[in-house]
Symmetry: C2
Subunit: 228 residues, 2 copies
Amino acid sequence: MELTKEISSIPLFRGLSQEYLDELALIVTSQEFKRGQTIFSEGEEGVGFYVVMSGKVKIYKISFDGKEQILHILGPGEPFAEVAVFAGVNYPAHALALEKSRVLFFPKNSFIELIERNPSLSLNMLAVLAMRLRKFANMIESLSLKEVPGRLAAHLLLMSSQQNNTNVLQLSVAKSQLASMLGTIPETLSRILKKMNSQGYINSQSSSIQLLDRKGLEELAIGERRIT
Amino acid sequence: MELTKEISSIPLFRGLSQEYLDELALIVTSQEFKRGQTIFSEGEEGVGFYVVMSGKVKIYKISFDGKEQILHILGPGEPFAEVAVFAGVNYPAHALALEKSRVLFFPKNSFIELIERNPSLSLNMLAVLAMRLRKFANMIESLSLKEVPGRLAAHLLLMSSQQNNTNVLQLSVAKSQLASMLGTIPETLSRILKKMNSQGYINSQSSSIQLLDRKGLEELAIGERRIT
DNA sequence: CGCTGCGTTGAGCTTCTTCAACGATCGTGG
DNA sequence: CCACGATCGTTGAAGAAGCTCAACGCAGCG
């Protein structure tokens, strides 16, 4: 079946025997979502977890007055909502397709049965959760210890390091979404980009950002320096 | 051996067979730390994880200019630094004993071997990480979407719910530590406690806080209402 | 008794958000 | 193909929230 091949391409399932891949293929279902469509909402019963096959999925929280904080933006190969499987209970955030996306859905109960019989799958899963925790810890640090310019600088450097340290970044999300990732609002982001431009840290044109002064950005990111 | 009994009392290891408890006892070591003593620092090689047996341990990040953000405060039975085991690499934060504490240390490699052979241990571990992720997601939401009074209100209600919904809370940490948990500074916390007092939300005397207006606090926590 | 750490208070200032307006871009339907 | 609306990004002015710095009281402890 075609699904098995797809499943085997998912990093989470790397190193699994053909036997287990086949079993996974038996419990999985493929789902399509259009741009802007909700996959699940916070508080809904967590019936399973997902893996993005194509497109882009946003995981986010919403406050009473409508502000959103993005927790992740996920692309192909990345799982989400695993927490619902292992912590039981409900989805802890909202999930929405940012573009036309296809996802695989793994129902909770069947998946747990599988994991009980396959330690190497559980080690992969543990690694994913552990990495996510690490990422969240950094977000928490960032949100509470750094000002917005520092968070932006850190984010830009992180992006760059994930793309072979290229100096020219293409934003993969809208600037308003970037603002929400950084825990701020589009207006503030816009002003800070402008300042960073005029002070020679970066050269930003629409959705492309060129890093001009990495050292300066690093100092911004650790709070050693400020934008004036 | 005495250790086996202690290990069996740890929630993380609930439901394990005697056989595995014995194996755990073979790899574990017990360590003592004095008040204020560092257990490990961010960036050190992650050689294993810990479980608090007695005392209190603080997990925190520090910014360049010395501000700290507390990620957890852990008491007896709670594990920490599991991330280092499964994500490999280094400790992602600092750990320090807030009081005289005894902890059990589980070396990474031996523990991974154990988990490879024991699905129920791995499921327990997955549940722990998943719950932690959920908690972090809430912290992130809180830090970026709520103002300090809202965070404080949410925290007080959470504390209360964890203690049979009692209306009289005893702070288990210094106020300056509470401030750091909430992502703010002692001065701001002090001012907000004062306002909450004068407006009848709470009655706070030194380290004891009585909740007077739960409904009002809830509205503060979700941003429906503000302190003036 | 003096010291040290913790908590509180006040004044001033920085940063960020809010609110409002406007320009640009893009996709769609006429 | 153009026009229109919607969305997105930008800019300005004003205000709110929280931080910094400094000072001081108080308690616990050597």
